[in-house]
Symmetry: D2
Subunit: 359 residues, 4 copies
């Protein structure tokens, strides 16, 4: 169903922006994995509002509680229920949204679909929904790291027209986390931060690209024909709020090349196969080939701007709406842990599926 993701490592998220909180149930986790809140909280802190001067200021501690699925610090193999309470709920800040649809938000479409909407904070379409994903992703990353020696990373590759230079083979977590925009190219990061600060001052927003990366994935994960690894990664990324595009390996840029140029030729050394280029992005025919997997996700500039805009109200009368309250000038720094989380969820699911059929 629509609020579940994954086949063997399946998560189900729940929760609205305002109300009892947000959470996730993780089903299918292998047993006996060491797991406490301390394994999960750091990623939630990286996703948290108010973490720096360039992100939305909502004040939420976002403390995760494990309600089930572990015993004496280890997973039981039963569903892991994770919960984060809502704290900074200020429905009054949204009173104007009660009857008006914010442009390019989900207000109108939720109303069109369900005939009802939780207007405070966007309800289910709020970015708070992604807390469950990040929490579950932290478990998935731990499994990948400990059981499969796979490392998942993500970083900001581009903010509007500022493009970072990053070597996917060498980039490391420390460099990514060394600045508040989560871009490992420090000069580019500085420019990005300046641009985002300017956007906050003028009440506007910018988008960009997050690059995701998985190193150490063995050849053989993925599954023809519909659940190709890149198809599942693409779905995962396109299910993120504000994402508008996904490309793997050479992506849209590969169109400029001919087949002869684009083919990744094989070589073998010491009983190991590798490719001399990696335009494929580590996946061929929907299955990993042992090379690093990398892809890019386009995020639009988020829709909440501090300007007056045309819109309609619930009675379908034309009106205007001026954004107020919290303003997130650029979603990318907080999208980084989210891209990591979704990548890890896809990979651990396929790792288990591969084990089931071919292990």
């Amino acid at each position: 169903m629509a609020n579940s993701f994954g086949q063997l490592f399946r998560i189900t998220t729940w929760g609205e922006s305002h109300g009892g909180g947000v959470g996730v149930v993780v089903d299918g986790c292998p047993p006996r994995l060491k797991l406490t809140e301390a394994d999960i909280q750091p990623d939630l802190d990286r996703r948290r509002p108010g973490q720096s001067r360039i992100v939305t200021p909502r004040k939420e501690a976002d403390r995760v509680e494990i309600l089930s699925g572990t015993f004496e610090g280890r997973t039981l193999g039963t569903p892991i229920s994770l919960w984060v309470r809502n704290e900074d709920a200020r429905p009054e800040a949204y009173s104007e949204m009660k009857s008006k649809f914010r442009p390019s938000h989900a207000d109108y479409t939720y109303f069109a679909k369900f005939g009802i909407r939780a207007w405070p904070g966007g309800g289910r379409s709020s970015a708070r929904e992604t807390i469950g994903r990040v929490a579950a992703g932290a478990i998935a990353k731990k499994i990948l790291r400990e059981k499969f020696a796979v490392e998942v990373l993500a970083y900001v590759k581009q903010v509007q027209r500022i493009i970072a230079e990053v070597d996917p083979d060498k980039v490391c977590f420390k460099d990514i986390e060394s600045n508040i925009v989560r871009c490992p190219d420090q000069p580019a990061a500085a420019k990005m931060i300046r641009l985002i600060e300017k956007m906050r001052r003028v009440g506007d927003t910018v988008g960009g690209i997050v690059e995701g990366l998985a190193r150490g994935v063995p050849a053989g994960w993925g599954a023809p024909v519909f659940d190709r690894l890149e198809a599942d990664l693409g779905k995962a990324m396109l299910s993120l709020p504000a994402s508008k595009g996904f490309e793997i390996g050479s992506g849209f840029g590969g169109i400029a090349m001919t087949g002869t140029q684009h083919n990744d030729q094989f070589r073998a050394r010491g009983g190991k196969v590798f490719t001399t280029t990696n335009y494929s992005g580590g996946i061929q025919g929907g299955i990993s080939n042992g090379q690093p997997i990398f892809f890019r996700v386009a995020f639009k500039p988020v829709a909440t701007v501090m300007r007056e805009q045309d819109t309609v109200d619930e009675q379908l009368a034309n009106t205007t709406l001026t954004g107020r309250g919290r303003h997130d000038p650029c979603v990318l720094p907080r999208a980084v842990p989210l891209v990591e989380a979704m990548t890890a969820l896809v990979l651990v699911d396929h790792a288990l599926r591969h084990k089931a059929q071919c292990g």
Copy 2:
């Protein structure tokens, strides 16, 4: 599982390039729909090899047979089994591939995953697998047309650096089908054809972009949070052979804009809501907003080139391989019906899901 797609309108494809044929089982089709082979064959003819001088010459009539699920020309509501025999199977043409992995094909990864591979024609990774998708998609398009007044179209938007000008609001099926490259911009089409012919002469290949389009989708289809309409469309497209990227609405290009520029402002007229721009591509918060849905799919230049390339063999020794036999210089003209099919499959599935929960 990996060879099924869709939740309520679910297809399961089967078949290898060589062997008894390829087919699909369609489960969940509404009953009493008029359906005969004549509803399906035209799309298979548009996908067929040998249909023009710019596509692969494999000689297959690709005649579809309905084996079950209809009675006296109408659907029963039971599984529809569709079958196309393989005819032009020439395993001898692939004898060199028996022990060598073709670069950027799925030969190596299938072998790495399964420890066995059907080397003639690429086996399951052959484009013939998509016959089942196109056949099922023809049924889905018919349902959309007759029960929901939704029109699905696709066309070639770009071949390498040749970009067509197409107005998504006005483009029609006739214009798309008026030339062999399936590009409704006739001057661009002529250039594309010349480029593809040149590629065939030199034994190389080119990629490009297919644009997909759905008009008439009402507001409300799609489902937060993981099964967003664009996420399911993205997965559908990224499950196509040779696809490397997907973007919806403004896509990667929207990154250059600010939020103020990018927001689609609402207006109402005569009780109908619309947006004055459509950077969203017809989907907001994962749910259709009533505007046209459009997206682009990047296809790499296909991997079979008539050149000598480095590769390895099954014993992991370095060697070379020269492409021989059938050569498809550009997959795009035949990808058009495939993009349509997958679009229709996603939409009809969400139409039924919407009816179930909110109807």
Copy 3:
């Protein structure tokens, strides 16, 4: 996955006997349904330990909280998260179970499967897990009642050898709830209560049969071939703790008849079709035929007895174990709301599926 049930109205339960609580996420609920805790609590009270002198005395208020999915007292169409805290957790009462496997409990098999077990209270195999089912079932029953005019009932049909006489066409909720054993045949109920009280005194347990019933189901629900309505009902019932058998309509007893005797002949009156007998139990070919649906579920005598029994410990040494602490002499009175809940979950799921495909 294993902790989810249903396709379109899907529930996912979580929680162990001891720990943060137990809960359920309900995905796919139609929007705009009036729903508060008051719609759910009564069924939890019927399932609650300590409700009468013939059930287990664990002291839990089992207060349900709706954490998400509603707004201003109506469902949003988004996941409904329900939570009940654990209160009366007394792990010390289970200290002997820490290293010994209780006979005919799930202690050994959980350990064999997962290599770890939450020994206090049986962990996930505790009957507390069913709280989530009952809570979700209360929502399902409300949908059936309000949107489809379908009534779901269950009652105790048999305790050990005491068999109640019940007319499935006439039995009503009030009669069922008029005594603590939930058997609408009052003389039989009195005997059952005496038997259960005796069992409690001697530290032993008894099993029996719960009969489930759905009236008002229209012809057409259900789905050939694997998801037959009786197959999904059967799975639902056999997923209940302590259940050992399921039969629909004539069930095992129908074996004594010949086809001529067993066939339910059709008659029509006033444009309505009915059958003159109902050995089919309201389902033919996996699809409801408009007659009342009824079935029986066999529950074994529960395994916790206050006697010394042979068993083994985690080191696989032979030993003995004497049951202590809470003793539930007969699970049947509390199984009644559970059978109702699972019945309702199956029916509402099929109602939505029918609407999607044939509506």
Copy 4:
């Protein structure tokens, strides 16, 4: 969806009694398994009409063809498509059924659900649909035997009131197949055959019980809480045509016992755990405990009798209908391979699921 069964070893069946044939697609089969038609045909022959004087005389060779998923006699890990043509289609024999609903058949309910029905031979509700299950089950049995040393058996335990004595620990395939009713108790078998022959002479039918058995299943297969092994077995059996009940281990008979009597006490010997009794039927808490798994399935007397019966027609007018043509006096001998097949499908699915999560 309704025509698929299993999660990781998933089958999708298709086909009506009349039309292009019946078939199945098997997805998720492990690669490199030796597989040819010769592995499948014997079970189809055991299911085939006309195999003996006590079963329906429809003349079908039921020759299976593997259309995909194997290469050089081994499975590829891709979907295996199996097909059996329909041959003995005699729609004229059903002309009276064209407008009248056969009592206790699925004619009426299919029509109520779908608004259309394939009246010749019952269409999709025909027992021919089970051909796909038996074919897929033959593959599942092979995997269980070769990869897990698990043996699956089934036999006729009871025909009407004739009950066989069978020791589940000792019964073997050869004894079961030594007579045409597939009952390993030879004196009982003789009586059963006489009863069935009598029924054929008088144009009536009888039902009974098939007992299913799996030996060698290790402790740990199955999955709490909804996909308990007995719940999935129960669903599998209740999805069979004419089945009305399922019980595992002590089943309905266990109700007569107290908990003290019913508990299976554990003992260990040589590092192996076993139970001194097996009222649990090899499953506790939804997970196998290493003891033999056994269960019983009740089949009603089949509905086609050579008598005049009351019924209604499509215009809902009262009428009568007299059964003609092929008459199957007892479905049990042919249900035996079907029970085996469904048992094997459930077990192999859970074997793969166990490997994925806990392997």
